[in-house]
Amino acid sequence: MKPTMRSHHRDDTDEATTESNESRPSVVDLTDVSFGYTSTPVVEDITVSIDAGEYVAVVGPNGSGKSTLMQLLLGLLEPDSGTAKLFGVDATAFDDGARVGYVAQRAGTSREMPITVREVVKMGRFPHVGFGRLSAADWRIVDRAIDTVGMSAFADRRITQLSGGQRQRAFIARALAGEADLLVLDEPTVGVDTESVDAFYGLLESLHVDGITVLLIEHDLQAVIEHAERVICLNQEIYFDGPSAEFTDSAALARAFGTGTRLLTGGNG
């Protein structure tokens, strides 16, 4: 992996690993959160806390409320009841957007839009520059972020000309350019070939080691168990929240998905 964007994170994390979880600042705090688009709740009584530097995966069957949960914790939706906090602030009022990097499933709205990798990554600097222009220092951060995800050779390529895996790397670079503390990824490997998926998780792992908090919403249980250190299994309510190694042996897997074995070998939930 290329040199990291923010090596100070590694030192912080090394120190942090010797301390208890309680000493790490909380990044996400959901307390008794319920939400429904209609009178039927999509998620109910969710209480979750994610600390700085954690690598957490949220799994659950289709329609289990994973994406809704993500929108609640990012402040894009307001809970019907309970509280959602991001970096200690009410999530809907949170205004330090540069601290959060977001990578969606097949991000980008227009298939045809002629936009280069560098133009996408520079968006990460927008919360820092506001209405102004990017300075030389901003551009250096952009180029370093592109380098970190191994996309320097493709910086001036149109994003539509890239493979799915490369595209998602570009979006991670955008989050890195913003110097995000929290990276939220919503099923980022959908439609990405197996080889690229492995490289993608390798990149996430190195960012996690670098101290960035990673929150991954994922359908691929095998990948989650292999890479994340903590799993939250959701199906309207939380079925499991603990170390990923314990998830496979838990009853929650079968309860949430109906059958665990098939999903773990089949790979696609």
Binding site: S110, P114, P127, S196
Partner: protein, 323 residues
């Protein structure tokens, strides 16, 4: 107070118009081009308005097309038509002398906000809210015209199809004002508009008030539509928001390049269109759009040639090292 302010703004733009006259007169003496004969100063104003349209339409259109809102220009043009009808109606009934383009600006901006508000309030898709506003606008326009107070229907064709010869000094100044507002707003908010256009959710996560930028975008669209309506007409105004952008998308390698190329293509269409329409005596709006579509076809061809000329690109991308 408002009238005094408007008068002040008008006076501020008049010197620009005078410099423009002087420049084209000079060009006429250098080239002898009949199109810019000083006897026909209405052409000077029409060319100025056309050049402004060639900048602002693709400037806004680039954001609209990539947000898949290409047809919003059409919807707002129909409401601008209602605005013109309101202006003509008020002038006839109340014996005022308000420019119908000013009432069109007001009505189109209100309609633009309505489109956004309907979308936000009802979760309806944008095309549903556009269809509702488009129909309402055109219905209001036809009702007011059919009332025919004081011969309202007279001269309505110039708004429907555009007319070079009716671009008055006042209308040219209105266009310069709209041009300044649009270019300044886009220059100021280009980062935000790009982010919202490309990835609305990520933009929201980054802390941008996405709904407000959507509103700014539709309001700017309304201003472009009214400005372009003078020479393009209600029926064809949307083409200038879409066609040059579609052409630029085919041949551009980056977003900033596509903005620039779309403006170049639009200016080419406007100048050729005005020139051809002058010499053959056809409606300028129609000729401009036909030229723009011709340029678009050439762009598609050029884009395809470029793609087939770069066979190694895909292979190279497939084999990117996954370090």
């Amino acid at each position: 107070m408002t009238l005094a302010f408007a008068g002040g703004v008008y006076e501020a733009f008049v010197p620009i118009l005078e410099v423009w006259y002087w420049l084209l007169t000079l060009l006429y003496h250098l080239t002898g081009l009949e199109l810019i004969n000083p006897e026909y100063t209405f052409m000077y104003r029409a060319i100025l308005v056309g050049l402004c349209v060639g900048v602002i339409a693709p400037l806004i259109g680039t954001f609209l097309v990539h947000r898949q809102l290409a047809l919003i220009g059409d919807a707002l043009a129909h409401t601008a038509f209602a605005g013109v009808a309101v202006g003509l109606f008020l002038n006839a009934v109340l014996e005022l002398s308000v420019s119908p383009y000013l009432t069109a600006v007001v009505v189109a901006v209100i309609a633009a906000l309505l489109i956004e508000l309907i979308s936000e309030a009802t979760d309806a898709y944008n095309d549903v809210s556009m269809a509702i506003v488009l129909s309402t606008g055109f219905a209001l326009g036809t009702v007011l015209i059919s009332l025919n107070a004081g011969g309202l229907a007279v001269g309505i064709n110039q708004y429907l199809f555009g007319n070079l010869s009716t671009v008055s000094a006042e209308n040219a100044v209105i266009m310069l004002g709209l041009f300044s507002i649009i270019v300044a707003t886009v220059a100021l908010t280009r980062n935000q508009l790009l982010y919202v256009t490309f990835d609305e959710t990520a933009a929201a996560v980054s802390g941008l008030p996405v709904a407000w930028y959507n509103r700014i975008m539709v309001m700017l669209t309304a201003l472009v539509v009214v400005g372009a309506m003078q020479i393009m007409g209600v029926i064809l105004v949307a083409a200038m928001l879409v066609v040059p952008v579609a052409g630029a998308t085919q041949v551009s390698r980056s977003f900033s390049e596509s903005l620039l190329v779309s403006i170049v293509l639009a200016e080419l269409a406007v100048l050729l269109g005005i020139g051809i329409s002058y010499y053959v005596g056809a409606t300028a709006g129609g000729v401009i759009v036909l030229v723009a579509v011709g340029i678009y076809a050439l762009s598609v061809l050029a884009g395809n040639v470029r793609q087939t000329g770069a066979p190694d690109e895909t292979r190279e991308l497939e084999s990117i090292s996954q370090d």
